[in-house]
Symmetry: C2
DNA sequence: GTCTATAAATCGATAGAC
DNA sequence: GTCTATCGATTTATAGAC
């Protein structure tokens, strides 16, 4: 053990942070698997390998647990946005983010959008960090959308917010689940299919 | 009161059927509003205006209640399919069904798709009438899809089942909820927007 | 900080009187 | 068939020992 181990509280804090990250990863997977309402705190504790009261030492409630997991998801989303090549056309950067989200979804790591009538939604809007991050992510995507519409790569007539909502919704589109369940497609094919129908539509194109 | 009133048991059966229809309408609305897991049997009874045990005289469990409501929804879907003009192009008939579903959604009458990991899904596949109706509806839509692809109105490269799943998914697309929540669009505009992005995609079209 | 044990509330389902 | 009252199971959350 290093001499700083007892002197600095930082190491312990790092361990704490590490454990909380394990917790949030499991919460994220459970949110994707069964949603907020069906996820039980007992199950989270069991998967992490600790007792339930220990979990409540880290997070004060089930809602706080889910909110923290959603914040983490938004942070990873922002990272995916920043990872897009700066020299690519804005529409291709948008496609890249959608493809990243679809891959996460197929890996069972993408919780559904907080439904407009969900229990979770109310507590999320009260969570300070969540709204800020959501606005940040929306602003970055919104800038690309406006840019792509100016370049006439995205349909100029569509309201930008309709495009933004559609991109968010495709990230947890049940279509990918059903395609996966059919067993006729690989994950890459499913990502290609959903991305294509999202941007190009179901109707045939002449261009 | 007609003379047959006491002689025939049919009248009482009609009243029974009528009450069950009221129940299923409320269940349908509640399924659309909060989903199967958050819907409580107490709430259904309260909305119908009867006590919970009375509800259990009509339906033996919460699952049976939801399954009956989903069957009723599929029957109305089949009716909407049959209501499409026979002389219209197949792609326009498909659009007509999607538009009907979106209007139902905006009226709060369209439950979400039974998620691949839902509690409800397992009991639905065991319900005899449900699967038959689902196959019937899928077959009718599938015939139109094949027809539209032959005529090159729908993208010929897309797997027909991907198109079918996409149409089902758009009926309960959360995008419509968020557009409605924004308050910037009328119901008709939302239906137009979602239908357009579904068939034409987000990317600009030259045709 | 982690555990065992339990409180408090909710929900699906039923017993039994009318 | 409809009601009041209640059971049994599940789940969130906490008390208290270590």
């Amino acid at each position: 053990m290093s001499p700083q181990a007892t002197a600095r509280p930082t190491l312990r804090e790092q361990q704490l942070k590490l454990r909380e990250d394990v917790i949030l990863r499991e919460v994220n997977a459970l949110l994707a698997e069964k949603g907020y309402d069906l996820m039980t705190v007992d199950e989270v504790a069991a998967r992490v390998g600790i007792a339930k009261p220990s979990l409540y030492k880290h997070f004060e409630s089930k809602e706080a647990l889910a909110a923290a997991a959603m914040v983490r998801l938004l942070e990873r989303t922002r990272a995916a946005i920043e990872a897009q090549p700066a020299d690519a056309a804005p529409i291709d950067r948008l496609k890249g983010v959608v493809r990243w989200a679809l891959h996460e979804h197929l890996r069972g790591q993408m919780p559904s959008l907080p439904s407009t009538r969900s229990t979770l939604r109310d507590s999320l809007v009260r969570h300070p960090g969540y709204i800020d991050l959501l606005i940040d992510v929306s602003d970055r995507l919104g800038a690309w959308i406006a840019d792509a519409q100016r370049k006439k790569a995205l349909a100029p007539r569509l309201p930008p917010e309709a495009i933004l909502y559609t991109l968010f919704a495709r990230a947890c589109d049940p279509v990918s689940d059903y395609l996966k369940l059919s067993g006729n497609f690989s994950d890459d094919e499913i990502v290609d299919l959903v991305t294509a129908t999202c941007f190009d539509g179901l109707a045939a194109r002449r261009d």
